[in-house]
Amino acid sequence: MKKTILIGGVAGQGSAVTSRLIGKIFCRLGCFVFNYRDYPSLIRGGHNFNILEVSDRPVYSQSEKYDIIIALDQKTIDLHQMNLKDDGFVLASSRLRAERMKAIDTKPILEELEGPQYLENDILIGWMFKYFGVDKEFLFEQIREAFGQNSEKIEKAIEKGYLLAEEKEKLEKKEGNYFISGNDGISIGAINAGLDVYLAYPMTPATAVLHYLAKKEKEYNIEVSQLENEIAVVNAALGASFAGARAMVGTSGGGFALMTEAISLSGISELPLVVYLSQRMGPATGVPTYNSQGDLKFAVNAGHGEFPKIVVAPGDSQEAISRTEEAFYLTAKYRTPVILIGDKHLGESDYTFKELKSSSVSKDRFLSKNLPENYKTYEITDSGVSPAAAPGQGPVVRATSYEHDEYGYTIEDAETTVAMNKKRMKKAEQIEREVSRLKPTAVYGDGKNLIIGWGSTKGAIMDALPELDGFRFLQISYITPFPRDIVKKEMEKSDQVILIENSVTGLLGDIITEQTGLSVSKKVLKYDGRPFTADYIIRELKK
């Protein structure tokens, strides 16, 4: 079974909420669902839509042709019905007009229920699940769980819809799956890693992490604050980190730019920091609710001066969880900034997994005990890593933006400057070794041609792969330190090497050449703000 369902309406009609509900129900039935979200930057009006990809096998991206369009307004029909499959249809209230349509006379039902307009969505949901042969009681259970107290009218609306439909398919209920967005993955990854302090200033598409964690503030006893701007956010995070907290900040490109000075500070002061950069289409304000991977080189090179940095790019929600845990682990152990780079597509899409796994990396704070009185914050050790301490433990602890001696006192002489740069750069070697054990890359499939991608393009590439004879896929998850040897080896044993990236210029291609001297043979780029589809990739690669 594989179905593509588009749900659309004006902002405020609830296409996002409705699609998530439908997706979740399918997941509970044991289906695999991918939920893509598309909306402009406005609060009411405009055109929002979601595409739900539903399948009995794992699926990670949305398709271009739809089996069902659930239209909450006429615009949805006008914009999308041309993409209906031959046997597809529009499901909508009879107040709307479409070519191939299951029209439901929702008006009398709404009148009967004396309900708000949004109950129309539920009528359509009811209709659709009957169509798929889903058990009514099961449906009601889900609704009750989702809406609690407020579920009564919704149930009724669903029932009305249900009764109007005929069963066309018979979905067997299997064991339920997990349904989770990239941003939620980041959030629970952070909590599981032992997050103490999350600071942010709202910025699409990172904001959902702030919203999620703010909800969990009391339950998990974490400090979640929105400060006056991104500069306050990142400097307060470093203050917290100095005082012994596991601190994380989240933002998108513009806010990230404002944080770059402090990323450099994290480097020299050796204070742990996790920065979640959720990319959107730039430059500047750009197309703020649409997707891009165009900040990669900015992130990799963020901050003035030279210091070790880690840049890790999860490819789906499960990876969002584990890579976030790794980020906290690495920053705590090596005391240098980690940038967790995602994007709108990863962050705001929902993915399905049979189980959600947490990473096995240590959750230790890496704070030393039994500190000597004569404690040196920046002690020079073989590994470059100094034993860490928090103020309050006993001895004086220092952190500084200036070059410094082992105690953290300001210095300006040549020798100490060199020694401290060497010390910090030694950590880069350790990190490289450590990261090589964290599966920095993955290879899927086994063709002689190589597709290279990173981050959210994983989904569409994975879904395209079965259709692409002769292609395998190298996913690069750690951009810094770059898994040079693996990438080089993979490239050298391939005929063609194709970079797939949501960008104008193909930024990973530059990094690959910088790091390996090798060039990709072809770039498949997309910079219209919309993510790839498997179909698009297949078309491009079969050209």
Partner: protein, 288 residues
Amino acid sequence: MEAKDFATKQEITWCPGCPNIGINQQVREVLAELVNEGKIKAKDIAVSAGIGCHAKNYDYLNVNAFYGLHGRTLPVALGIKMANPELTVIGIGGDGDTYAEGIGHFVQNCRHNANITMLVHDNQNFALTTGQSTPTSEKGFKGFSTPLGEEESPMNPMSVALASGATFVARTFALDMAHLKETIKKAIEHKGFSFVEVLMPCLIFHNNMAYLRKNVYKAEGNDTGDFKKAMELALEWDYSYEKDQKIPIGLFYQIKKATFEDQWAHLGKPCYLIDRRVNWSKLSEEFK
């Protein structure tokens, strides 16, 4: 403990006679007293310094300290307090640091009202970068970036702090040791955001010593709970030097109010002592 226990062995790089030296001395005196009185613990003091002459205090105070970026003294101080409410957090900033680069944080931290103390060493110029005009430099000030004379009127940090909601607003004078000490002590003891404007001459680039010595007076008997009265005191001197004006020093305003930390009482103790083993299946269950 004695003041000297809070000194370090680092070579002082302030100009000979710079009032920063006296401020440093009084901060150490106050810390020693507060420790001796059992009000704070030496190991639990944390300083956040900006960048500028003032900030060299980082090197000359033997306490936990963070030498941050120019202008970011307050966010760092706030972050420290978030992560460990038990720390006595003291911010040390300059006028350039606090009223130029970091003015936004200043206004918002007056409102946040975390229990931190902010000392602003106001020498009415960017000293460490060789004497340019800051927001408190007087009209006519000739710094290197205003060789023809500053043309704007200075801001009044006292009134801005009051209007921004600070719960402790005081001004002191770097050359009056007793007043300096008393004011800093009160500020640290205040529960909430304490703002202390320290008027100080810069011997090299802004030497207003004579003017200050002549015109500074101690405000006494003022009703520190009365916002309007405090605002009047704040407006008595407009940071200009055209003619003699009386310059009040002292505590202008102090009220009790819930602190920022009160918001997150759930944290309770220093983060680094919290054991955060999380039940993964419970956490992830929500998505099932």
